[in-house]
Symmetry: C2
Subunit: 251 residues, 2 copies
């Protein structure tokens, strides 16, 4: 279709035509069926996985789909609505474990590990979860499961609210942090930052640097996707759960 129309005399610059033109001769061949919302959401997540969170643009997404930008708006509303749809899509991949009625701490540990596995598959999107309040059918359904487990385990009232937050919030917030974006090479150089400090500063960090290097909060330069913190995550979860349990038994 594009090849049959001429736009050489259009006001639009050439790069625009190049960038925006649908590609009927793309790998997929000419589209037979209309674009679906699911296809748009999946393509958006694909861009984030491949090129990073900041690389997702409505125009780039349209190009990837072989359509004009306005088509993306027709299917997904706008960018923040699209991101909410992607969020719901990713959250849905976390299969909430079945609760056997006895081991709520084990249930939480399993939920945490399954969540971490999904975050690890989409590390560049993890940032969205920690920094944007989730409201979708997937998030509400997950909240319901967590409340269900805590209710059946005897939590109620204020105790329920804060235990829910400490355990559930702690898990999700951690994952956001573990898969945080790496500093841009030009912007920050860890060795340079370390060298810039006087030799007698940060003695504790210097003495433990070999041990902690790229394995600890604020002592790392790689994201959890290349420098995982699984053991620390497990310790955090078990500690929170043990702490909640012991506080509750003393009451």
């Amino acid at each position: 279709m594009r090849s049959s129309t001429s736009c050489s005399e259009a006001i639009q610059p050439d790069y625009y035509a190049d960038a925006m033109a649908p590609s009927p001769d793309s790998a997929a061949g000419p589209r037979k069926s209309p674009l679906s919302r699911q296809t748009v959401v999946a393509a958006a997540l694909g861009i984030i996985d491949d090129e990073g969170y900041n690389a997702l643009t409505m125009r780039g997404l349209a190009q990837r789909l072989g359509v004009y930008p306005a088509t993306v708006y027709w299917h997904a509303g706008n960018k923040s609505q699209l991101l909410a749809l992607v969020s719901d899509h990713v959250l849905r991949q976390i299969e909430v474990p079945v609760f056997d009625g006895s081991d709520w701490k084990g249930w939480f540990l399993e939920l945490g590990h399954r969540s971490r596995a999904v975050f690890a598959r989409h590390p560049r999107f993890a940032a969205y979860f920690g920094t944007n309040i989730q409201v979708s059918s997937a998030s509400l359904s997950m909240a319901d499961s967590v409340i269900h487990v805590l209710l059946r385990s005897g939590f109620e009232g204020e105790d329920l609210v804060h235990s829910y937050n400490a355990a559930f919030g702690g898990i999700f917030a951690w994952l956001t942090g573990e898969f945080a974006a790496e500093p841009e090479h030009e912007a920050i150089d860890f060795d340079a930052a370390l060298a810039a400090l006087p030799p007698d500063e940060i003695p504790a960090l210097r003495s433990q640097f070999e041990l902690m290097s790229n394995r600890a909060w604020m002592v790392r330069w790689n994201s959890g996707s290349s420098a995982p913190m699984a053991a620390s995550f497990t310790l955090m979860m078990t500690s929170v759960l043990e702490g909640i349990d012991s506080r509750r038994r003393t009451r």
Copy 2:
């Protein structure tokens, strides 16, 4: 200076001249001293505090400072470097408590509360901490303090690494989540999302909705700046610290 030059015949559209022109008659009056990096950083944080993280643009910042965009680049490098400078500036506001050598859990609790107070003053910037790996003199200095306290409290080796991450990482990641951005009104409506689910779905959430509404992870629509989660944060911290301590005593 602007008023003495004419640009009515320039190619530049009017809005550009309006938006970009320095304002010699601004509240501060004509600048006597050259712009400093600190002034640029403070102004950037001001925009984020006032209008939100996404509202910070290099051009808007230049306008606020009464200079041309390129001037901001001269002082701050580029946008990601500027953000790193803002991060260092905010992190510096957290006054790390002095360790008395005995109560490491108390020390962590105090660090957590002081950090939360600073995050609460700059809630729209909190997102940056959770989603971008920190490397600055302030972050390295803070890491050093935490390592120092744990070393003096008898932690070492793998135990040191994971306890450090569980406690310190848990605190910082949580704060990012607590002060996460609110969904845009047009994008998401909590009541509508709830109503969209069948009545027999999410029974646990529905039964506890009054109790948990806007107070719990994934059951809220306001950020921590208007719906604080201080009690949950304290429970999370004390639980993690108790958990770490008890695991360590059993070894």
